[in-house]
Assembly symmetry: C2
Homo-oligomer: 319 residues x 2
């Protein structure tokens, strides 16, 4: 028999993909999404939507005390750049929301809590490989809020015997990514610019690098983490491979027709130069490993994005 | 000529003492305090009071864009225990307040920001000596908010060239401590119980221990930290000496007349077993070291508390 899950942010890229997979396995999924950056048409069919912000207690109250087999908290504004424009909103969406959901979980007897954390909690390091024990030096308000949420989960896990898991997602990309938000998602930003304007404007150095992890692998990590039965833990969800901005752009431009100009401007506040992750802990503890190579993932994403951009097409059908 | 300082929380124990000392040196001091746990009569004479919460943007606006030589942010609910009763309020008072003040500092050209952080950011460790590079594993929501505030300061310092300093205060005690709040301040809680009820109720083990630092030494640390000109840094403000709960109680009961009963109950959520601090970094970097021994500080505090408790006396005159 299917289980019942709360997946926040199912109108967004990662939330929609996780919700979709849970539905495919015969589960019931409810979501809370304020549709600020998410889109209504992204919410998978058969997901029950409560429209509102997770950091609003009155919205949480609309859950009516239903008990979930797990709460998977993915909603939140996810741009480090935007967090500099409104740090207080970022604190609410990425931190207060976690507190309210943990409180809801504890009061309703929900014993599993999964959270979409971020590689940004590390900040920059030399050498650039980060394991879960690397010092945490967040560079953006966004990352500080995510880190505080991790601590909240650790405390709840200790005080109330809940299994809490933070997945530190590295740069997630792939089919279904929001192609109209030019402030979040390095792969989708460059790809959208290349397709729509034939110009890629890069904010910062071409030598910066990221560890790109494909959406299907990220979804798989959430499913694997659901098996955890007790305690708090955090895991790097990454490939362990550094891809430079220059390589990303080459991958995109070599797969698209016509000349595409690339220009460079100043970086954004709090942007990291580059780290990549060590994923041994996720392999050992939750039996997760990535299956997608960057080139293959980008192949698939670019084809999808090109077709989606054609007049009359619907992103959703193609995703 | 005197300077102009904003000292938040000057109706509280530490804020009042810091404000008083700055006034003595001929400076002008303005405070914001919501008087939730602070007391109006505690605010030193000649300090201009804006009554309200620092996490309320409209209250900050009442500063009218005045530029301060430094902002010293001390206000905030300071009980780990209380933070479990209302985690969201704790987040606002200890975290959102810091964001709003940093934003105010940046916009008004204030170049120095001091913050009352806490030893609680460390959590428990074995061995129990903590230096500033010890891993940060906060056990209470209170401590998570304080730690997030430290990160915010580090980011502001990097992005906006401000000198930001976090003082990780260990257990501050002494003359002037709030003797009517039984949820914050180990020394003041036991002392108040002993004087007022002749019964000390201990929540948790007698073997727990703390590093007690006298209020005058803490005030001195804020003054020394004001000299910092650039960058972010954090410092342990502590003695390096562990005093057990049992020793605290013996110190109190041996100095007061009559039998005093001691009973033990369950601990409070998120309470630390015990750590003590290494203060070498504060010695080396800001030339600070503690001058008060625990026994001497307690002698002075107990005499003050006994006289204050007599009918008709005023705590303030005696402080």
């Amino acid at each position: 028999m299917g289980k019942q899950y709360l997946v926040t942010g199912a109108a967004g890229f990662i939330g929609a993909a996780v919700a979709q997979k849970l539905l495919e396995f015969g589960n019931k999924v409810i979501t809370i999404d304020n549709l600020f950056t998410g889109k209504l048409e992204r919410v998978p069919e058969n997901v029950e939507l409560i429209e509102g912000s997770v950091f609003d207690k009155q919205v949480i109250d609309k859950l009516n005390g239903r008990c979930f087999d797990a709460i998977i908290h993915i909603a939140g504004q996810s741009s480090g750049e935007v967090s500099f424009e409104n740090p207080v909103y970022d604190l609410q969406t990425n931190c207060q929301s976690t507190l309210l959901l943990l409180d809801y979980a504890q009061k309703t007897g929900c014993k599993k809590f999964l959270y979409a954390s971020t590689m940004s909690v590390y900040g920059d390091h030399t050498p650039p490989e980060c394991s879960e024990s690397t010092e945490l030096l967040p560079k953006s308000f966004y990352a500080v809020g995510k880190l505080a949420s991790e601590h909240y989960m650790r405390i709840y896990s200790q005080q109330f015997d809940m299994a809490c898991t933070a997945l530190r997602l590295f740069n997630t990309y792939g089919v279904g990514q929001n192609m109209s938000n030019l402030k979040q998602g390095m792969a989708s930003i460059y790809l959208a610019m290349a397709i729509n304007r034939h110009i890629i404007t890069v904010k910062g150095s071409k030598d910066r690098f990221r560890d790109f992890v494909y959406i299907d692998d990220v979804v798989d990590a959430f499913l694997k983490a659901l098996a955890r039965e007790r305690g708090y833990d955090s895991f790097n969800i990454c490939t362990g491979r550094a891809i430079t901005v220059e390589q990303v752009i080459k991958t995109i431009t070599s797969r698209l027709p016509g000349p595409i100009n690339v220009t460079y401007t100043d970086g954004t506040p709090g942007d990291q130069f580059g780290i990549y992750g060590n994923n041994s802990k996720a392999k050992d503890s939750i039996d997760w490993e990535p299956h997608w190579m960057f080139e293959d993932g980008m192949d698939k994403m670019i084809k999808w994005a090109v077709i989606s951009a054609q007049p009359g097409s619907s992103e959703k059908e193609l995703g």
